[in-house]
């Protein structure tokens, strides 16, 4: 405010304009100068920033594309699951078939072995259906009966030797009393000495699956691991079928009382395939 209330107009400052122009020129010069000079680290920083941004972009893009792909393929996965389940079912059925064939194959293999080993006998092959629950006798039932020509008191064998004899016969099934049943007697021959003796099922040895060799001739030396064969004495068992090996010799004061324990060559308590010697 001036004197007597009269306002005095200020002149625009020329120096300001000049300053502005000078500073613009200076910035341009600086840009030109800095563009010519390489400042170490700046390029690295920018590269890092660019790479980071690119990576972020890539990742985000990937995430989005995968995410949408996942949601989009749920239906396909479900279809694939159904197809796989069907495939598993088919494979399970095939496995069952293979198992059945394996069992059948094993059964036929055993029968073939019996046939090869006892080809001089007339044989009827049979499978064990079930075993008796009775603790007094070792008995099982087979799936062949009188229709197949089986009669009572015929010998029953397996691939390794004697199993027992036919005790009962019906039209399509038969009962087999095994050699480890108490009181089942077999005329046997001790291979190394060619002497006859008697093998007999014993109540106390039944649990272990063994039988007793009695009436061993006096002055006969028998030893463990010797094989005992049927002697053919009696009507039931033909000559030459292996019965078992001598497991233990029990000597008594009186030589007549001595006996031996025989371990059958056949696993009688688990045998499944047998043959009957039909006369």
């Amino acid at each position: 405010m001036g004197y007597l209330g009269i306002t005095r107009k200020r002149k625009p400052k020329k120096s300001k304009k000049v300053g502005l122009i000078v500073s613009i020129i200076a910035v341009i010069i600086l840009i030109i100068v800095f563009s010519k000079i390489k400042v170490p680290g700046v390029s690295n920083i920018s590269e890092a920033i660019i790479t980071g941004i690119t990576n972020i972009a890539k990742t985000t893009k990937g995430l989005f594309s995968d995410g949408f792909g996942y949601f989009g393929s749920v239906k396909a996965l479900k279809e694939e699951k159904v197809a796989l389940e069907k495939q598993v079912g088919d494979l399970k059925y095939k496995l069952l078939e293979v198992n059945t064939l394996e069992t059948e194959n094993e059964s036929l293999r055993v029968k073939l072995q019996i046939k090869e080993r006892y080809n001089h006998f007339n044989l009827v092959y049979a499978d064990v259906i079930f075993r008796n629950y009775d603790n007094w006798n070792d008995i099982f039932v087979i799936n062949q009966g009188s229709d197949a020509g089986i009669l009572e008191k015929q010998a029953v064998i397996a691939e390794n030797g004697l199993v027992g004899y036919i005790s009962e016969v019906s039209k399509n099934t038969s009962t087999v009393k095994t050699i480890i049943s108490p009181n089942v007697a077999i005329g046997v021959e001790i291979a190394s000495v060619n002497k006859n003796s008697l093998a007999k099922g014993d109540f106390s040895l039944k649990d272990e699956g063994n039988l007793k060799l009695t009436y061993i001739p006096i002055d006969t030396e028998i030893s463990v691991s010797e094989i005992v064969y049927t002697s053919g004495i009696g009507d039931v068992y033909p000559k030459g079928i292996p019965v078992g090996t001598i497991k233990k010799v029990v000597n008594k004061k009186n030589e007549i009382d001595r006996y031996a324990i025989i371990a059958p060559l056949v696993d009688i308590q688990n045998v499944n395939n047998v043959a009957i010697i039909v006369k």
Partner: protein, 171 residues
């Protein structure tokens, strides 16, 4: 009428299942070479829990099936199981049926009698004597196994009876 028919069907089913379990499951379950006798246990439980007429009929039916399936001739098992049923029925009023001790005692005595009958049968049919220690061992193991089975079966039977009674009370 329908209720009676369904009961008969149920009993036949139970007998069939018992035979199958005995042959295919318990056949391999041996303790020192001795198998448990589920069929005998079933006869014992029926004789303990069911009325006189039903018990006698069922023991004859079970014995009949045993003779046909295992012996291929009639007689032995029918007589044995009938004797066991009559024995249990003769002292049926002298104990509480839900008592654990009663199950143990009745099964033990019945198994002992059954094994003695088998022994007598064996001596007469085979004309042979057996080692008394082996026989004692067999009887003891058989009793142990049968008592265990009877205990399990009684629990199942008692539960079904209690459930049935509660349903009837609810009505």
């Amino acid at each position: 009428m329908m209720k009676k028919i369904s009961q008969v069907i149920l009993i036949i089913l139970v007998i069939i299942v018992t035979f199958l379990v005995q042959i295919y499951l318990l056949g391999d379950l041996k303790l020192f070479g001795v198998r448990p006798n589920l069929i005998l246990v079933e006869v014992i439980i029926i004789s303990m829990l069911k009325p006189k007429k039903v018990s006698i009929t069922l023991s004859c039916v079970i014995g009949f099936f045993c003779d046909i399936i295992f012996e291929m001739r009639l007689g032995k098992n029918i007589i044995f199981y009938l004797i066991i049923t009559l024995l249990i029925l003769s002292f049926n009023n002298k104990y509480r049926k839900d008592s654990k001790m009663a199950i143990v005692c009745v099964t033990g005595i019945a198994t002992l009698v059954f094994e003695f009958m088998q022994l007598i049968m064996y001596i007469f049919s085979e004309e042979d004597m057996i080692n008394i220690f082996s026989f004692t061992k067999q009887v003891l193991i058989q009793e142990l196994l049968n008592i265990g089975l009877a205990y399990i079966m009684c629990k199942v039977f008692n539960k079904s009876i209690i459930r049935k009674n509660s349903v009837e009370i609810g009505r």
